[in-house]
Symmetry: C2
Subunit: 185 residues, 2 copies
């Protein structure tokens, strides 16, 4: 019996691919095992249990998305950076709608996600830095940005918008709405 050469990373790869193809609800150890060409109990050598695998997938998604957000704001500043950040957020979700569902909504409150969530938060803070908000106003601004971007993305990922018609236009409008709500620079 030859070895499959699994590693935790490859198990997570398979899990992510499965989520992409069949949705988050299809993320089962049995399905991941089959995709890895292995019996289900073998996965426990690389992952503690199903909950652990879900966590690992979530962390990977946060990191991946954070990378794209960071790229989106690099070399930009002010309203330009913020708009680019918001568009990058939406782009990630439209490219990988099922992955977005694997991302925890409250990463900062769960130790397993805290570090990844913090890095994403830092990117958002960086985009808003030019405004020089004090602490409470910065918090409100970050929350408003998240509300818009998460609201739009989760509705779009779930097909919640009826016709896809003019969705780009709607998104540009909510970006403008958010920017107009920020103080002049």
């Amino acid at each position: 019996m030859p070895r499959a050469g699994l590693t935790q990373a490859r198990v997570v790869d398979a899990a992510v691919a499965l989520v992409d193809e069949r949705g988050l609800a299809a993320l089962t150890l049995a399905a991941v095992a089959e995709r890895c060409g292995v019996a289900a109990p073998s996965l426990y050598k690389h992952v503690s249990n199903l909950a652990d695998l879900r966590t690992l997938v979530g962390v990977r998604v946060i990191h991946e998305m954070t990378g794209q957000l960071a790229t989106a704001i690099s070399g930009r500043s002010g309203a330009d950076a913020v708009a680019s950040l918001m568009r990058a957020y939406r782009d990630y979700v439209t490219e990988h709608p099922a992955r977005y569902a694997a991302m925890p909504v409250d990463p900062l409150h769960q130790p397993e996600f805290a570090e990844a969530g913090l890095r994403m938060l830092e990117v958002i803070q960086a985009a808003l830095r030019p405004w020089g908000f004090d602490q409470p106003n910065l918090i409100h601004a970050i929350r408003a940005a998240r509300v818009i971007v998460h609201g739009f993305a989760s509705l779009e990922a779930a097909g919640g918008f009826g016709l896809p018609h003019d969705l780009d236009e709607t998104f540009e409008r909510v970006i403008r709405m958010f920017l107009a709500d920020l103080p002049e620079l």
Copy 2:
């Protein structure tokens, strides 16, 4: 063997109570059956299967919420009605966070939810009527309202906002942001 006197409505009652108490993931036929004082297979006399029960719960939640939204705008108009609508939406979610997760995001696209979803949509349209939007602008306005209200509500229901501190203030700010984005009346 005395009868339990179950009906579909009472099964859904039990399901909703279960969701409230233990979250949407705990909605299982076995648990509902126990709560009804009945063996699990007996539920199939009132509900086709688990998916059907989930649908029934979702429909009930949409109707319930629609009722509260309609109450919130009655006797009001313009910005007053819109703000009241948005607050009522959030209130429902904070009062029943787990139920909100049972509500489908794209009701209009699923036949089982279409009627209920349409009634909710009509309430939102009613609140925006004074602006006299043409079709495309009305669509954008409704979408923007949903983005904000769903984004905020789903983040709050999932505990996604770190400290609950000043959440009311954040919500009032995003309401103002949305109202400021509407044309003058």
